[in-house]
């Protein structure tokens, strides 16, 4: 009897947890969700005003760089960029780790799966007008002719939802 109860209770409990942790299917868009008015652009699921400075934005919105040279009025609080890699590991994925290798090698594949660093995203309060779009010099773990190595590159921070 106890076993039968367990067989019922375990899947029901797991189903409840699955419903709590995994998303339901999104509702179908009611209209053309990506069609926005003049001076607006769809961005992250809503129409946003384009801008060149904070003065172009209404209310509490701030003019922010979202990448690709686009500035939009947003209610985000932070800018973010991927910080330095401090380590640079050669990762071994398997005898046929393609498509997980870098760069994709000719067939048949070799176990080297790529160079992997440990950089984490760094956020900073959004300041300036427009805010974000600042250039940062960072160390990146890259595959070089001499193996995996830290290479200096530049990156831009962008608006962080």
């Amino acid at each position: 009897m106890r076993k039968k109860i367990l067989i019922l209770v375990v899947p029901i409990t797991l189903s409840m947890f699955a419903c709590l942790s995994a998303p339901n299917e999104p509702a179908a868009p009611t209209s053309a969700a990506l069609n926005c008015g003049a001076g607006e652009q769809p961005f992250n699921g809503a129409c946003r005003e384009t801008c060149t400075s904070n003065a172009d934005c209404s209310g509490n919105l701030v003019c922010m760089d979202v990448g690709s040279g686009v500035d939009l009025c947003l209610d985000y609080q932070h800018c973010a960029h991927l910080d330095n890699d401090s380590v640079c590991d050669a990762v071994y994925g398997g005898s046929t780790s393609y498509p997980y290798e870098e760069p994709p090698p000719p067939y048949p594949y070799y176990p080297f799966a790529g160079c992997v660093g440990d950089a984490h995203w760094l956020t900073a309060a959004a300041t300036g007008s427009p805010s974000c779009g600042q250039q940062h010099t960072v160390n990146r773990c890259r595959h070089t002719p001499s193996g995996c190595a830290l290479v200096q590159e530049t990156t831009l921070d962008i608006a962080d939802p």
Binding site: A18, P111, P161
Partner: protein, 544 residues
């Protein structure tokens, strides 16, 4: 001989197993996006099957379905689709299915241990096997086949032992029918698991079904085909799929093997090194050390039947090890990682070699195994949560309010993660197909064995890119797709390549989402020049 511990002790070990099993599946509920490379593709298949008749999803327009005789690769997705109907989405259905599979890892091992009259506390070693590299690479059909194989093997052992006793014929027949179904399920989960099972089932039936002595063993060999008759339905299905199905469709690349020395080095990586943290490595090696202690301090066999079962246990482990070292690395142009994934079975069968003694000499190492199992589950939970928080972030915002049924191309310039060893972002674009229908490329739907395949008229312009973003050419590929999703510090449209123009419509951390701007004129191709693609060095772009 089953040595039965006193009741309080038995209860304690049962609870230890329950806690270990729950800790194993806990990480599955710690994030909306799990760090498993192929997972989004599996979700996409489940969603496509669920909405196949829904015109808004355009699933039927883009894809054809493989049937029972076309592909061996559909049971996981069909069960996932059933659960998706119940719970409302492919993602929910898949999490439930994976959780049931994860829970079954230690309990299927316990079933086998019981069938072999071995110490069932060793089932504690079954829990951590779930968090192997095969799971974080997202080989979900294969991962799901492990508990099915162990349950089936437990039945085989019971069937073989029953053949020597006086069991009612009806019960033997019922067990045979169950075995036939489990063998079919294994075949439709993963061929490699099925092949291993067929070999192990033959070994178990032969060794346990025959008497002792060379002559008896030879006689047992002659009786083997009749005793394995329940394998016939799955063997016929395998034959049909191999000869007439999609497996036969790709014969261009042949078969490749990995050198044994390389495989030996990869064994611990694929057995327990799923995350970039050192914690799983330390705990994995600690589990190996506990196993060694239990072998060294092993209890002696009491009688000839026990000695025979021990020999079988060694042979079952040897078969798993042999499959790891002898299976090909690749078959055809699309089936890969066939050898290294078998590390999961090497780890799964290792506990069969252990013989815990009664008393503290057995209990202390097993308590350590329980602690290790819990530790691996908790570490995985932390890594999964950190992956979601730091690297996935607000990815869902990008896809929010996207139209249904569109065509998305994903260019993952940076597929790597600071948290998992696999490349969890390679197929992340398939979340679009899982939630909104349409198609997302690159997709396994280009592969022969995949249950959903592109209809010829909807195949992407460039075949089999495996998600290599450097192969993108705007003039050729851009026309086909409605959206482009990128990950990494590369803007494929920065140099204004020939072809359609694109507008940024979403961004979150490393992700960018572009929509094709149908109102803007295309960038023309200048005579005599070609598009070097998004990965060309700056000099090539400058000279364009």
């Amino acid at each position: 001989v089953i040595r039965v511990a006193p009741l309080p002790s038995r209860l304690a070990w049962r609870w230890a197993l329950r806690v270990a099993a729950l800790c194993t599946v806990l990480p599955l509920f710690c994030a909306r996006h799990l760090p498993m490379a192929d997972l989004p593709e599996h979700l996409a298949v489940i969603a496509t099957l669920r909405h196949y008749g829904d015109p808004a999803w355009r699933s039927q327009e883009y894809f054809s379905l493989g049937g029972l005789l076309d592909t061996q690769y559909w049971l996981y997705h069909v069960v996932g689709t059933g659960l998706a109907y119940l719970l409302g989405s492919a993602e929910r259905g898949n999490v439930l299915l994976l959780a049931l599979v994860g829970l079954a890892y230690p309990y299927s091992l316990r079933a086998l241990l019981r069938a072999m009259h071995m110490d069932e506390r060793l089932a504690l070693f079954g829990a951590p096997v779930f968090w192997s590299r095969a799971l974080t690479v997202g080989l979900l059909n294969f991962v799901a086949s492990e508990p099915v194989l162990l349950f089936a093997l437990a039945l085989v052992v019971r069937q073989a032992e029953a053949a020597r006793g006086a069991e009612p014929r009806a019960r033997t027949a019922a067990r045979g029918a169950g075995l036939a179904l489990l063998a079919l399920a294994l075949f439709y989960l993963h061929v490699s698991s099925y092949l291993l099972f067929a070999g192990q089932a033959a070994l178990a039936t032969w060794m346990l079904g025959a008497g002792s002595g060379a002559r008896e063993l030879l006689r047992g060999l002659a009786r083997l085909p009749a005793r394995l008759a329940w394998l016939a339905p799955s063997a016929i299905a395998a034959l049909v799929v191999v000869v007439h199905g999609r497996l036969a469709a790709d014969s261009t690349h042949g078969v490749t093997f990995t050198p044994c020395a390389v495989l030996l080095g990869l064994l611990p990586h694929w057995a327990f090194d799923a995350f970039r943290t050192r914690v799983d490595n330390v705990l994995g090696w600690a589990a190996v050390a506990v196993g060694v202690v239990l072998i060294v301090l092993g209890a002696p066999a009491h009688d000839s039947r026990e000695r025979r079962r021990r020999r079988l246990a060694v042979l079952l482990f040897a078969a798993a090890l042999l499959s790891y070292f002898s299976l090909p690395a690749t078959v055809g142009g699309y089936a890969g990682l066939l050898d290294v994934r078998m590390a999961l079975f090497v780890a799964a069968f290792l506990p069969l070699l252990l013989r815990p003694r009664a008393g503290l000499a057995g209990s202390v190492p097993l308590a350590a195994a329980a602690a290790i199992a819990v530790g691996i589950g908790l570490d995985a939970a932390w890594q999964v949560h950190a992956f979601e928080e730091a690297e996935v972030g607000h990815f869902d915002d990008l896809l929010r309010r996207m139209p249904r049924g569109g065509r998305l191309l994903t260019l993952t310039f940076d597929p790597k993660s600071a948290y998992v060893e696999s490349r969890p972002f390679t197929y992340f674009g398939a979340y679009y197909r899982a939630r909104y229908g349409g198609m997302s490329s690159f997709s396994f739907s280009e592969l022969h064995h995949w249950p959903t395949r592109y209809r010829p008229e909807w195949s992407p312009p460039q075949a089999l890119t495996w998600g290599n973003p450097c192969l993108f050419r705007n003039a050729r590929d851009g026309e086909f797709f409605d959206f482009v999703l990128t990950r990494g510090d590369v803007d494929p449209f920065a140099a204004n390549p020939p072809g359609p123009r694109w507008t940024l419509i979403g961004a979150s951390r490393a992700w960018r989402l572009y929509a094709r701007d149908r109102s803007a004129p295309e960038t023309p191709l200048v005579d005599g020049e070609s598009d070097p693609g998004p990965c060309a060095p700056p000099a090539a772009v400058a000279s364009q």
